[in-house]
Symmetry: C2
Subunit: 679 residues, 2 copies
């Protein structure tokens, strides 16, 4: 056992008295190293060191190969911008092959198009028709959510899916307007322009914002800054979505109750006040119809949720509700139930001439574009990744961003507003058995038929049914179980979630988002400002040092203080680091005094988990060394990783510590430190 | 040797064929564990495992003791807000003693006051008079930098030092106006109000901003948010100070050249244009006098820098210059040399009535207060810490903030503007041998004498000499060597430095600071977004796995991919983590294919350096496991630290991995993984 574990036998005063009898024999047995690769024999080190004569053979701390500044910078940039290494497949290929690959890279349709078969078409046809039946009522409803004419929602379900099917790399995404982006666009633009008083200006702003959203999305993809989307954490989104869903549902009270004069504000309090102040406008016919259909829709939702094979029940229910309610309203012809009215027939009119890039609203449209752009990207990419992971293929985030961005830029010139991959419709698409993006083409075709021939049929469709459809769609965004899980696992994540939720509900959609992103970033900074630091002890039976808090069997080595730093050392935490080590030292010395042990003679900083260090961090290490030197305590570093070691040797700090204070591991540092302290 | 190193002998196909002869003998020698604590005997494990029969005894991954949510939160908060554990000294004390300690805590003067001796007084007297000789001309000069009447600079050198000597915990800090904060206040207030046209309003704003600066500083200290100051990294400050020094020096061209009509802008281009457009206003007498004194002052600076014992030469030179130039100007009585003019005699008039908290300038004064407050805090605390470290005592950052804040709040009611510990004067204070804060009291007394009796003497002091004094003072802030060191050690830090420098020089002081802070934060976020990940191999002769890039001798274990993650796993990097592991896997499999080795059967994630994980991170691990499961590759985790292990067991992820996929160390994970894969 002595043979196996040099450090254990080194803990020479208290915990584990070294076995005296075994040492000589076993050392002799293991003395001639049998394989040349193993000449750093640890075996004889322990007994020999106890006599303080021989120096144990230690492993040196290595540096990574020297790279030029340019090369280092290039590698770093490649890692930041091209973590997916998109050029990998082009390596070692002929130029013709490369052309084909490039074409396939930019237009994924060429990738799966050649292998397309009637069997796949059949699946896509069914899926496409299924999502069309959902997309048409949802498109009309979501357009209303953005304060836009219902027809815009249908336009937006026609052109964008076609473009996406050419450029997108997800096979399951169902493209079209989505609730959150519609809500945000509606609430942001409404603050400046009333959609009722200035409908043309409002429409212009909506298209312009869509254009900017597209530009923003495409440039994020092109500049490979896709990681910015990752800054919206899941916790944040859970809260944000929940709050937005409630806001959206409350807004639908206008339709459900048949109120004509409704607040244009989004806040919970404004809406509730408006609802009760206008109770004279409540329409019982509308309320009955709305409640009935809402109940049916929620019921079908429940059925499909219980039994995923019955997905078509909830998928078909909205269209069925629209048809039935339209027939009812046509028969009734009641004036008290407001209906959609006349919708123009025909395909998307061009709208490039409506984009306005000057005037006082530019800042607003850019802001709206960025907000809706980032939200719709987040949804689209999350949905794409989810289904890609289920079906075991990869979607390329940056490519998806470019596809969605180009789709929105083109859409803004064809009377479409912001679109992306919708979560609910993609789920239906997947359940209905779609195989490729052709299902989007089928859906677009179905929308086209609707636009060309079926528009007059919507004349008598009651508005209340759209409200019911919206509520049913957004109610799924309220993820109480997800929030509960956050509470259980991570209180700060839960806080971010609740802040986003309450911010959206009580202040405004933008504020909620801003608060949530702020908390998420603050959490990261906090971790870098107050990094975990632990006192480590030797785990008996190993050569390994672990946190004494986590491993209660780990024992401190007398006269040594081993501190593990579990964060990069940056200007944000360098002062803290010094103070924290000094505090550990104080506590340990007090403890040693109490138990009559020898006082600390050597502090070992375990740098294994220090991924990076900056100039302030290097200074802090020198500083700490200076302070400890004055108290006659040695400071040594164990296992600095490549980039940290490199930096230390590039700066004066490397000299301060010298190679005799840098160790391969804590175990070796303790062994060598003991050597020096002993004579 | 086999005995010593189980994992080495496990790498069973290529690199290190296990020595067949030695195993039996040495295993037998070490077989009976000599100490009961060492019953996890590694020794026999290796040879037995080669036959694939016995299961090696593994160490369990432990969890830290369970804490209640409240306790965990309290400990976390204590670590964030009270890293210095200020109540430690109150433990186990009588209540009378506690009262004394509390008094000493809030008024450090009680700490050193009782032991004050005539010997200390003598030292402090010399030091205090020395810094007074520097503080008087600098005070007048810096007030001009802030566009304030010169007398305000003297007022600010009287009251604040007295307050600081009661409350401050640094013994070496020389308190008074400083150049950077003066510059920033001047440039920010001047944008809104002209100090020439509306001097009273300007003065009101300056005092109000000072008050807000004090409130901000004191509340940072009181709320123990001192770590916010750490967000100004050293690199940022190097660039910012350098840029500000050049801006300040350029502004002095007005005085040095005797120009009357000068631009009120701060930018490099504006100033240079102003200098050359107004060359008809250049005054040769002023230029000669200014250049001569500037040369002398710079020379004395050089002398003192070469020989620190001659510190008094540079310390006394400004006052000497003021006296000589005043005499010269009195003799000359030339109208072409502008002089300070009449200064009111007497101590600080009260100015509490000048604080304005309503009207259109509140936002401006708050902004100015926060900016100057944070800058002066940074300087004061950095100076305090520097000299505390030289003299081997500690300053408490949060207490210092409260002291400086209270000093500024009080100052704003006594006709003082923002003050803090000045770097240059504190250095002189230290060199002159100050022992306690009494040197500040001595300085204040000297300033009082000046205010009461010597003011008429300043009548003929030429303005040009003040410009020369300012340039000499700020030239030391340009730290070219520091910038060069940054370039050598850390390119991104250098970038932050240059951005701050150029931002200050070409855009504006605030912009430069904003850019620099932005880059500093971005750098942190980047590191969290794209964390270091390394492929690890076994270092021959140890049981330790290290980066194969850093340790070229480290060998990969066939069929295993060991990946070390060197960052907390957060929503910002969870997707990247998955993608990066998949890329490593692809590369390693290609390599294995080429060299005809067995393909990867097990991925070991070394979590030693993962200090924290959030819900997105946990999801990413499940996701990765799912993807690898589909490819029939095992995913196991090695050495999760306490908080990470705790979170995993609190969430479903713990169940996904189960205790048989969590290992104490990479070595044990490889050993156990090999066990499973072998049969």
């Amino acid at each position: 056992m002595v043979v196996n574990n040099k450090v254990d036998s080194l803990s020479y005063d208290v915990e584990a008295p070294p076995p005296q009898g075994a040492s000589a024999g076993s050392a002799a047995a293991a003395a001639p190293p049998p394989a040349p690769a193993h000449h750093h024999a640890h075996a004889p080190a322990a007994p020999v060191m106890r006599e303080g004569t021989a120096v144990m053979e230690l492993h040196k701390v290595s540096l990574p190969e020297r790279r030029s500044t340019v090369k280092a910078l290039r590698q770093r940039l490649a890692e930041v911008l091209f973590p997916d290494d998109p050029l990998h497949q082009f390596k070692n290929q002929s130029s013709a092959r490369r052309l084909v690959l490039a074409l396939q890279y930019f237009f994924p349709i060429f990738q799966w198009g050649s292998a397309y078969s009637p069997r796949l078409l059949r699946s896509d046809l069914i899926a496409g028709l299924t999502i069309a039946s959902l997309a048409i009522p949802q498109g009309i409803s979501y357009a209303k959510l953005a304060n836009l004419p219902p027809i815009i929602g249908l336009y937006s379900s026609f052109v964008p899916p076609l473009i996406y099917s050419l450029l997108g790399s997800s096979r399951d995404l169902a493209v079209g307007p989505v609730s959150i982006a519609s809500l945000v666009m509606g609430s942001m633009l409404r603050e400046a322009v009333s959609p009722d008083d200035q409908p043309i200006l409002y429409l212009q702003l909506a298209f312009t914002a869509t254009f900017f959203a597209g530009v923003f999305q495409a440039s994020l993809g092109f500049l490979r800054l896709g990681f910015i989307v990752d800054f919206l954490s899941k916790a944040t989104l859970t809260g944000f979505m929940g709050g937005a869903a409630i806001i959206v549902s409350l807004q639908q009270l206008k339709g459900l109750l048949g109120i004509v004069h409704f607040t244009s504000h989004m806040g919970f309090i404004d809406v509730m006040r408006s609802v009760f102040k206008r109770h004279d406008e409540w329409e019982w016919q509308t309320i009955v119809m709305g409640t009935a259909f809402l109940a049916i829709l929620l019921l079908t939702r429940q059925i499909s949720a219980r039994n995923p094979k019955l997905f078509w029940i909830s998928a078909g229910a909205p269209l069925a509700s629209v048809i039935i309610s339209t027939i009812l309203s046509f028969i009734w012809k009641s004036h008290s139930i407001s209906v959609i009215g006349i919708l123009p027939r025909g395909v998307n009119p061009p709208s490039a001439n409506m984009l306005t890039f000057n005037g006082s609203y530019v800042a607003l449209t850019i802001k709206t574009g960025i907000m809706t752009g980032i939200l719709s990207l987040t949804e689209g990419i999350a949905v794409g990744r989810t289904f890609a992971s289920i079906n075991n293929y990869q979607v390329d985030g940056n490519k998806e961003m470019m596809a969605i961005g180009i789709m929105n830029m083109a859409g803004s010139c064809a009377s479409c507003y912001v679109t992306t991959g919708s979560f609910s419709r993609s789920a239906v698409n997947y359940s209905a058995g779609c195989k490729t993006a052709v299902s989007n083409i089928v859906m677009a075709a179905a929308v086209l038929v609707t636009l060309l021939f079926l528009m007059p049929l919507f004349h008598y469709t009651p508005n209340v049914i759209l409200s019911a459809i919206i509520i049913t769609a957004v109610v799924g965004l309220i993820d109480v179980r997800g929030a509960a899980k956050l509470w259980k696992v991570d209180k700060l994540d839960f806080l971010a979630c609740m802040a986003a939720f309450l911010g959206v509900l009580l202040v405004s959609v933008q504020m909620g988002l801003a608060i949530a992103v702020g908390i998420s970033l603050f959490k990261i900074l906090l971790q870098v400002t107050r990094p975990n630091m632990v006192v480590k002890g030797l785990v008996p039976g190993t050569q390994t040092y672990r946190s004494v808090v986590q491993y209660r069997e780990a024992v401190r080595v007398p006269a040594f203080l081993v501190v593990g730093v579990e964060s990069a050392i940056y200007f944000t935490n360098s002062m803290y680091l010094v103070e924290r080590v000094m505090r550990y030292l104080r506590d340990e010395e007090e403890m040693a005094l109490k138990s009559n042990q020898s006082s600390i003679r050597c502090v070992v900083l375990d740098m294994s988990a220090v991924a990076a260090i900056d100039t302030s961090g290097l200074d802090a290490l020198s500083e700490l060394k200076k302070i400890l030197d004055k108290r006659n305590i040695e400071l040594v570093l164990a296992n600095p990783v490549g980039s940290v070691a490199e930096r230390m040797f590039n700066s004066a700090v490397g000299e301060t510590f010298g190679s005799d204070r840098l160790f391969f591991s804590v175990a070796e540092a303790v062994a060598a430190g003991a050597c020096k302290a002993q004579p």
